[in-house]
Symmetry: C2
Subunit: 348 residues, 2 copies
Amino acid sequence: MSVPTTESHHLRPSRATIEDVAKLAGVSVATVSRALRNLPNVADSTRNRVEIAALELNYHADPAASRLATGRSRSVAVVVQLLNGWYSSHVVAGVEAVCAEAGYDTIVVGVGPGSREQDVFAAASSIHRRVDAIIFVDVRVSSDELQALADQSLVLVSVGHELPEITSVGIDDVEVGRIAARHLIGLGHRRIGLINGPDELPFVVPHHRLTGFEEALREVGIEPDRSLYVAGNFTVQDGADALHALMDRPDPPTAIFALADEMAFGVILAADERGIRIPEDVSLIGVDDHDVAPVVGLTTVHQDVAEHGARAARLVVEQLAQGERLTDDGPAPVRLIVRRTTAPPSPS
Amino acid sequence: MSVPTTESHHLRPSRATIEDVAKLAGVSVATVSRALRNLPNVADSTRNRVEIAALELNYHADPAASRLATGRSRSVAVVVQLLNGWYSSHVVAGVEAVCAEAGYDTIVVGVGPGSREQDVFAAASSIHRRVDAIIFVDVRVSSDELQALADQSLVLVSVGHELPEITSVGIDDVEVGRIAARHLIGLGHRRIGLINGPDELPFVVPHHRLTGFEEALREVGIEPDRSLYVAGNFTVQDGADALHALMDRPDPPTAIFALADEMAFGVILAADERGIRIPEDVSLIGVDDHDVAPVVGLTTVHQDVAEHGARAARLVVEQLAQGERLTDDGPAPVRLIVRRTTAPPSPS
DNA sequence: CTGAAAGCGCTAACAT
DNA sequence: ATGTTAGCGCTTTCAG
């Protein structure tokens, strides 16, 4: 079965191999290999000749061959839930920038929103032979599974939250919850609604933010009212649904803490439809400082997401180069950005 | 003969080689290779035995070895300007979904905003040995360069705009410009500002939209006033800057057409700061129907971006399977979504 | 239908 | 400092 040639294309331009270079430079393939990878024990004059020959032939080592021989693939996988979410895409951008710089390919793998640990593990292990490292973005993986992956001598990093035994980068999410709650409390709010993560799966980021939130409430003697929490999945639509749920109550909250800006946007959308004014009727605070947050004047807790990705990638690259397990240098800074969706509760 | 014993064996991505499987199944490696790839000329009973053995050992062909032997890498590159832009990230998500389904890895490569053709080509050719196909997202590549890439028997697809000689998916951008302009004209606007793409580089999407825009103007006897065009680079900030530039004029426009929603968001932001009301003082229309567009009530021209990515990936996958050059099936549909940023000009 | 063996292009001992 | 050579794990003629 030969491929039906559509046209008279010349034969596949046979790429130069290491042997061609060796011949041209008048040395052995081993020398070429060493010279081109800047290994020691190559005479300067020789290295020079080889480099010229390689340039001449526009030679680049075949990655497949090189991978087979070394066992290193020079690429890293980023596994993430929503590839098109604001958070994820910014992390990916950060990762790609430093990986490209360091000569690594970055392979993206989406596991679908709300994936269970098994799904993530399946995705990770199906890719493990093709990459040197895996960066998990906001996904859950069990300790055992992580161990299984690490046993394949894969470098593992988590961004978004801590994962057992592996180095992780992110922010202090308990602190985020505290900051948001304190801001609202300081304004005088006592009944605060919360738009949570999904409640089927025990996601860790939502859990932490919620913990900090409740902590701050208790600090001032307010007992958290869990009937004021509504689940969401980090989309605009979820935020809108949540606003309705919250405002349909006989005793609606005077303020809402959305665990992510995108859900906060949904709140704004739905409030608009309903004729509810923000912040006059209800205050709103989000998390992320999404590019659009200033546009709608959203008060939020800022974090530098692209930098998280970059940091994760740097850790990967260094770890791959040095072989030692690196530890992250603590949570990245966050800060409250007060805009115009928060105000004191109106006297009722 | 060391079959993993504990119940945790399914957790262990295994390093079994084809030889292990052959031994276990009592056949040759050639047969294993054939059986596992569903090639013809394998007895059912044999295939069965092999499959069981493979399963037992949790065997998966080493991709590097397989690539070296076949010359196919089973991965595709997506080259894109802003990895974190709304448009790009949605395309990437679409691509990844179908690639994963078809067993291809998707490698993202960012070329930086406003890249010149050479940069893109450099990025593309530096990755060409590692992928079977390249999907260009909204980047320019010259005919010659494309040819050089195609000569490496790479499958090439463009999304966002047409590229010479290669199959492309996207929308009719001239039509987009027409739709936006007609909407504004129909409302009674005569002086319409336009927030363009960057003007150093000749990007094709902005050019087309602008063409349709001017066409619609002339249809009703309005001569386009190019002093009302201001360059932008598709960010929120660029939109804000543009609004200021436009409104600082002695004769500001009564409506603004932003070539992308993200720039329109910037307009809203800046208008707010300046106390300019939309649509009372100036109407605004964008393009994309960004997730946040409904939140700010932005009138815009909708397109299904993730679907573009998916379609591009499907074309790639089919082309890779069948070997023939496929042609796309015409531009994807777009439609005007009227929200509340457009209205008739106020009588001055 | 199945097996033996020759690569694919490169790296890494091991020699020299 | 450089060359020789044996793999890396899989695919693919070519025989049988």
